[in-house]
């Protein structure tokens, strides 16, 4: 028989306001096995913890029931109290009488009754609890960063600086991400390339960092400290270690009509290309969809001109398998497709462009060498209209766009408007906005400068329609402050398209068993207190894959993610979770149901010899759980038809005892 202590927490008034905590403690005194029951204002405080420790000593308790907040909040706190007092931590049960009781009820009588029932269920479970001991596992001292934008680069650099090995996997032929495409950065207006490319070079030269460019993660197995990852290195038909990046092949390639995706399709490149001058690694890549040699076996010009002999038309995709202790998702963002926003005529007119396209148009390395010329006729636009919130802050009812604020558009639009007026003072610049949101260091000052010093016309209101007429774009919008309908004849319209997580993120989240929100942003373990960790152990988040953010914020978060990774890799061994699946071999009939449902590939089947009642032996096929891999999700226990599979700490018997106690 257990000797159980019940501790009812008030949580200040959080619980005590809607639950009569004294009545709960009193009612539990008469439960079988309960030898001590009390209440206290803050059970998690030092005084509360001491109270529990005293009671354990005085009443020789063997099990504890804490009636308090969610176990997600303080289960570990109270398990530690138990362990400090010599009780196995898994003899502690939490009755959640805050989130699941006091916070959702208004009536004190009902709240109290429910709290008593929840506490009884916990007592029933403790009777069946057994001490559990977690296993230990080694930590592979290497981290994987998925995504090579500024977030991934910064995370990798910080991890490498601490002396750990780190690999970056980037799907594009070069690292650098979106920041490499930008012209200037707000609010300081330093050039993006000038501050990014040194970091790209630094990461490439760091001996702790390996870069797998033009590669994808295809499979992730294992668990925190021991991930096994398969990386597909796509064939670039150029030997990476031989190519010198001279660029001769890209000039000689006769295929000139390949849309240049680095310039967002605003000009063309060859079938063999280097994305931009400061690419890392600076090696050429052949696009197999356009290369004549790969498509028809005719041409081969690049191989002829390559003095290094780097071209290899027979190159195949290569799969690399590597072990990692920690994985960081840094998959970044993309502007949304504007197909559902035809009122802005993006698909009808070449002179309606996105803000990212505007960045390329003003970038010295862009399609117009940094001269602001509109795409249709390469004339200098005299009137430019910027439209903010295109696809951001849409109502849930609109069935298009995103509900959230994309956060960066107000600032980059102010930047675009200001730079345009600075370089081309004869240009009229209008900005339509819903609100201007500029929280951030020196951000509002920056926006005010655009308005006050540079004379940008800011108009509160949205654009209803953009009408291409002749070589003009008629922008129909409303000025809410002046209560007027406006028609502006513009030469160029720039849409601040909402940003969304990269499409690869969803697939990656499934591989990592990391959770996502409804917008496909990765969810953090706690929105305030654990912002760079995924709820899945060993998976960390860096940059815009977790939510919209600008460069300074991304870099801070990248560093934070790195510090969490370093903290993990610094450990030699990790304690596992003892609440894992366990198969009763005598009951297992070898049907493989559990193996099929296990998302972690933790279950295998083994042939085992069993002694039969008649003293003969028989070989049977039975399930075997790798406890280090099992995450304790419990899927197998449901799938098992013979009831052989059970979850330690959450056995069917224990759950049923709780249900019985509730229904009594």
């Amino acid at each position: 028989m257990q000797r159980i202590g019940v501790f009812v927490c008030w949580c200040g008034s959080n619980i005590a306001a809607t639950v009569d905590v004294k009545a709960v403690a009193e009612a539990l005194k008469s439960e079988p096995g309960v030898v001590f029951s009390t209440d206290y204002q803050y059970m998690c405080s030092q005084a509360g913890q001491d109270l529990i420790k005293e009671a354990i000593k005085e009443h020789k308790l063997t099990g504890l029931v804490i009636c308090s907040c969610s176990p997600r909040m303080h289960e570990n706190t109270f398990r530690k109290v138990a362990a400090d007092s010599g009780i196995n931590p898994y003899m502690v049960e939490i009755a959640n009488i805050r989130e699941q009781c006091s916070w959702v009820h208004k009536d004190k009588a009902i709240g109290t009754e429910k709290a008593i029932i929840l506490a009884r269920a916990a007592v029933a479970k403790v009777h069946l609890n057994t001490p559990l001991t977690p296993g230990e596992s080694e930590v592979t001292k290497r981290a994987l960063v998925i995504g090579g934008g500024i977030a991934g680069i910064q995370t990798a650099l910080d991890i490498a600086d601490a002396g750990y090995k780190v690999d970056i996997v980037e799907t594009k032929p070069t690292i650098g991400g979106k920041m490499a495409q930008l012209d200037k950065t707000f609010p300081t207006l330093d050039c993006a390339a000038c501050i990014l490319t040194p970091k790209m070079v630094e990461v490439a030269q760091n001996e702790n960092v390996r870069i797998f460019s033009y590669s994808e993660v295809t499979e992730v197995g294992g668990f925190v400290g021991n991930f096994t990852v398969k990386i597909k290195k796509k064939a670039r038909y150029v030997k990476e270690d031989v190519c010198t990046g001279c660029g001769l092949c890209t000039e000689k390639c006769p295929m000139k009509k390949v849309p240049n995706d680095f310039n967002l399709g605003m000009n063309n490149k060859g079938a063999i290309y280097i994305p931009f001058a400061q690419a890392v690694p600076k090696v050429a890549t052949i696009d197999p969809n356009y290369c004549n040699m790969l498509k028809n076996g005719k041409c081969g010009l690049c191989a002829k001109v390559c003095t290094a002999g780097a071209i290899d038309y027979t190159q195949k995709d290569e799969i690399i398998e590597e072990k990692y202790g920690a994985i960081v998702a840094a998959t970044g963002y993309n502007p949304i497709s504007l197909d559902k926003f035809d009122e802005f005529a993006y698909n009808q007119s070449k002179d309606v462009i996105t803000s990212l396209e505007f960045e390329r148009l003003t970038n010295a390395a862009g399609p117009t060498n940094g001269v602001l010329l509109r795409p249709s006729d390469l004339k200098h636009p005299k009137t430019i209209v910027f439209v903010q919130c295109v696809g951001s802050r849409c109502s849930a009812d609109a069935s298009k766009g995103k509900e959230y604020c994309s956060k960066i558009c107000c600032m980059y639009t102010a930047k675009h408007a200001m730079l345009t007026r600075d370089k081309y003072p004869d240009t009229d610049v209008y900005v339509f906005y819903i609100d201007v949101r500029t929280p951030g260091k020196n951000f509002d000052e920056f926006y005010r400068r655009a308005v006050e010093e540079y004379g940008v016309h800011y108009i509160k209101g949205m654009v209803g329609k953009v009408i291409p007429e002749g070589d003009k774009l008629i922008v129909q919008g409303s000025d809410l402050l002046d209560n007027k309908q406006l028609k502006i004849e513009a030469d160029l319209v720039v849409l601040a398209a909402a940003i969304e997580p990269d499409k690869s993120a969803r697939n990656l989240a499934t591989m990592l068993t990391a959770s996502m929100d409804t917008n496909d942003f990765f969810t953090e373990a706690h929105p305030k207190l654990r912002p760079v960790e995924s709820p899945t152990a060993g998976i960390f988040l860096s940059g815009t894959c977790q939510g919209p953010k600008d460069i300074p914020e991304t870099v801070s978060q990248a560093g934070a993610a790195a510090s969490k990774v370093i903290g993990l890799l610094a450990k030699d061994k990790l304690k596992g979770n003892p609440c894992v699946a366990h198969s009763d071999e005598l009951m297992c009939n070898g049907c493989s149901s559990c193996e099929r449902v296990c998302p972690y590939k933790a279950i295998t089947y083994v042939d085992k010899e069993f002694r039969m009642p008649d003293r003969t032996t028989k070989v049977r096929r039975v399930a075997f759980v790798n406890e280090a891999v099992c995450q304790g999700c419990g899927a197998c226990t449901v799938a098992c038809p013979s009831g052989a599979m059970d979850l330690k700490g959450f056995k069917s018997k224990q759950i049923m005892a709780e249900v019985d106690a509730i229904c009594k």
Binding site: E343, D397, A398, K465, I467, E469
Partner: protein, 261 residues
Amino acid sequence: MKVSYFPGCTLKNKAKDLDKYARLCALKLGVELEEIENWQCCGGAFSMGEDEIASKLSSVRALQYAKEKDQYLVSVCSACHNVLKQTNYQMQNNSDFAFKANNYLAFDNPYNGETKVIHYLELLRDVIGFDKIKENTVNPLKDKKIAAYYGCLLLRPSKVLAMDDAENPSIMEDFIKAIGATPVVYPYRNECCGGYATLEDKNLVNKKSGLVKNSAKNNGADLIITACPLCKYNLEKNNNTDIPVVYITELLAEALGLKEE
């Protein structure tokens, strides 16, 4: 095949051609438009008042009629279709409204939005199929450049009307292609003609309709087609740009060889 047909008041008066050719063409394509018995005016415009019930009851009655016949409810007039479709949406999604409307009408079996309301264009596209129209076209309008004018009621609110992308529709252009002509896409095709404002501010409507007609003409159209009697009235009445406006069903009749001169 038979469908329930709600012609609406204007089609009995000013827009007789819209009605006549709708029936003739449908019949030729194998669908009989069966006029609802004792239908009443749809109200002309869908009231945005959440508590407005009386003006929507005639629509509910028509919807119930189609439900009992187990038929699609088809109309040609954009305004009627808009009111019927929006009322049906309320019957499906606003239980308070549905409860009160049913109380007023006291049907034997209450109506809860079961009927499928489709516009004549949807009948052509989804039930008959544009391919079948192509097969039955005897006078392909090959040299015609035609501007489809949607107006606002046919497409919006887009979530409720759910016929096409309200900002970039294609159903009428596909229809124009099916009868062998060339569609002209122009920016004002889904803008308002001015609608009922014609009763009090002719200048405003003149301006709005003028934008539509000029835009169609400047983009090279010879002809504008519409499904809406009010749109046709406004476009013809209030502007002097020289471009004819005809109903979709007239054009269809011409292509199918059913047009009487």
